[in-house]
């Protein structure tokens, strides 16, 4: 039997995220160009696989069978895989899991993983209304549970009640991520800054969340190159960043199936993390930098707990202590995360994985010194599914 191939992330790029005057396919083209600028050795003919991760491309953008549209606009001619993939907010990290498997098995050599959303329609109401269809439509959504803030607000209240987490501790998540993301040129809120006082005095979105506890919905696209180790060496001289281990765990689609004792416990994330760490042959202590799904400030607090970066229930004091800052125990969301870079669902995973790639290659804007191992995490929908991808400077033995 031939030796197993290793999959690596070579580089990538994103379009500008935000309220964009652009079509979904325009933004995917922007992301592809940004990706090629980042990896000048990437040639059209080398791309044998294409995955486009998107959720809203059916109803918004009128692009149900999206992959051929992307192939045509990018001038590609894939031969190994050409698919659209939808796991909502985890789309492009899910695509990276697929690409890893295809490359390790020898089915594909160079996969362009793209993700993108056109969230904003000619009239704003349609954006919130479409979200009724991305949750469990006939059940939770028929209760009015479309946009996420009310659900995550209940999670925050529960965490505050059970573990004593405070609004000020949650504000530290937002402020830290603004300090990072202000320098990301393509971020939705690039160039903006935030203080604890501003965060705490912001208008209420859904109690206890103020404006800065919530990530924006964004238009945008991202693209990363996942390739075999051999092809990556031909394309780029940068240090190799291996896709070491992955885990993805789903337990339910609507609230009756919630797996935790309360909303403040996310055992499905704990499980996804354990699977990924096992596959990566690492532990949380090994991770130098993380990108966790900070759709809300409380999300990052709970994710740091469930992924094992701090004890359960201690996420609040942990973030307030500066643990996620560049010199802290686990620098987190070093490009601004969802809170600042923005959140075009299908594009977010690849944006996170690209930041980990840059960190492990030593070329991030906010560089973690000697970063060797990094982790990216997404949650999907009403916290129904968790996706974890772990990267390293060396492959799994």
């Amino acid at each position: 039997m031939a030796q197993k191939k290793n999959a690596v992330i070579v580089g990538g790029g994103t379009s500008k995220f935000g309220v964009r005057q652009a079509h979904l396919l325009d933004m995917v083209q922007e992301a592809a160009v940004a990706c090629q600028k980042d990896v000048p050795g990437l040639k059209h003919k080398d791309v044998d696989g294409l995955i486009i991760a998107t959720t809203m491309a059916g109803r918004h953008s009128s692009a149900l069978n999206t992959a051929p549209l992307v192939v045509h606009r990018l001038g590609l001619s894939p031969t190994s895989i050409c698919i659209r993939l939808d796991t909502l907010c985890a789309g492009s990290n899910s695509a990276i899991i697929v690409a890893k498997g295809l490359i390790e098995s020898g089915i594909a050599e160079v996969v362009l993983v793209t993700g993108g959303e056109k969230v904003y329609m000619p009239q704003r109401w349609e954006t919130n209304y479409t979200q009724l269809a991305v949750n469990d439509h006939d059940w939770d959504s028929a209760m009015g549970l479309g946009v996420p803030p009310p659900f995550f607000a209940m999670i925050a209240r529960m965490h505050m009640k059970r573990y004593g987490t405070t609004k000020e501790q949650m504000a530290h998540v937002s402020v830290t991520n603004y300090n990072y993301g202000t320098d990301s040129p393509n971020a939705h809120f690039g160039g903006r800054t935030l203080t604890i006082k501003e965060a705490l005095e912001a208008r209420i979105i859904a109690d206890p969340f103020g404006l800065y506890d919530c990530c924006p919905l964004s238009d945008g696209a991202s693209a990363v190159v996942i390739a075999s180790e051999e092809r990556a060496k031909e394309m780029s001289d940068r240090p190799l960043v291996y896709v070491r281990g992955t885990g993805q765990h789903a337990t339910h689609s609507m609230s009756a199936g919630w797996p935790g004792e309360t909303l403040a416990e996310w055992p499905h994330l704990k499980k996804a993390g354990e699977v990924a760490f096992k596959n990566a042959q690492l532990t949380p202590k090994d991770i130098d930098v993380a990108q966790t799904h900070d759709c809300f400030s409380i999300s990052e607090v709970i994710e740091l707990e469930e992924l094992g970066f701090c004890q359960k229930g201690e996420g609040g004091p942990f973030v307030a202590s500066g643990a996620t800052k560049i010199d802290g125990a686990i620098p987190t969301n070093t490009d601004g995360g969802l809170l600042v870079y923005g959140h075009p669902f299908g594009a977010s995973g690849a944006r996170q994985s690209l930041e980990i790639c840059k960190q492990l290659q030593g070329r991030a804007i906010h560089q973690v010194k000697d970063a060797r191992f990094g982790l990216a995490h997404n949650l999907s929908g009403t916290c129904a599914q968790h996706t974890v991808v772990i990267y390293g400077r060396e492959p799994v033995e």
Binding site: N128, D138, D140, I205, S255, A256
Partner: protein, 170 residues
């Protein structure tokens, strides 16, 4: 709605006054469109029900056509408790999807020890803002929602619909 929006100069004139099922905020409840329609018939009778597996005894929610635990198709309809306690709640002032009036009150309910359904997120209706508190008891309530047309054997029939929520126990 402005006169301009009502005119045929903008939009999709072909879809004027057309029902678009894809955009419907409620389920298609009639037997032509799902196999769990007894749930909705039971709602009309004021009952909150779901399916129980006759093989392994598992009670699923939402109701299903197979048991998610053992994949048996041998299921029966059973009633669920109609009272529950509020664990946490949220009142949305702005940003609720169109069709849901503000404040949109959503609560995380617990049905207590031994109940076949442990938790559920539900909409609370017949309740003023600030009225409901954590720990309060709420009860099941049904209400009519708009019907939709459906083509059945070349005829267009009107499918009446109902849905459920919870309300404060006063």
């Amino acid at each position: 709605m402005s006169e301009l929006q009502k005119s045929e100069i903008i939009g999709t004139p072909a879809l004027k006054d057309v029902y678009i099922g894809e955009m419907d905020m409620w389920p298609f409840e009639s037997p032509e469109f799902n196999r769990i329609y007894p749930f909705y018939d039971n709602l009309r009778a004021g009952k909150f029900t779901t399916t129980k597996c006759k093989q392994c005894g598992h009670i699923a929610f939402p109701p299903q056509v197979i048991c998610p635990k053992c994949w048996s198709e041998d299921l029966e309809w059973v009633e669920l408790p109609q009272r529950a306690k509020v664990v946490v709640l949220t009142e949305t002032q702005a940003g609720a999807p169109i069709g849901f009036p503000s404040p949109l009150i959503i609560a995380w309910l617990t049905f207590g020890e031994g109940a076949p359904l442990r938790h559920l997120l539900v909409r609370i209706i017949n309740c003023k803002e600030g009225e409901l508190k954590e720990g309060d008891e709420v009860k099941f309530v049904t209400f009519n929602v708009p019907a939709h047309p459906a083509e059945v054997k070349k005829e267009t029939k009107v499918c009446d619909r109902v849905y459920y929520a919870f309300e404060p126990v006063k």
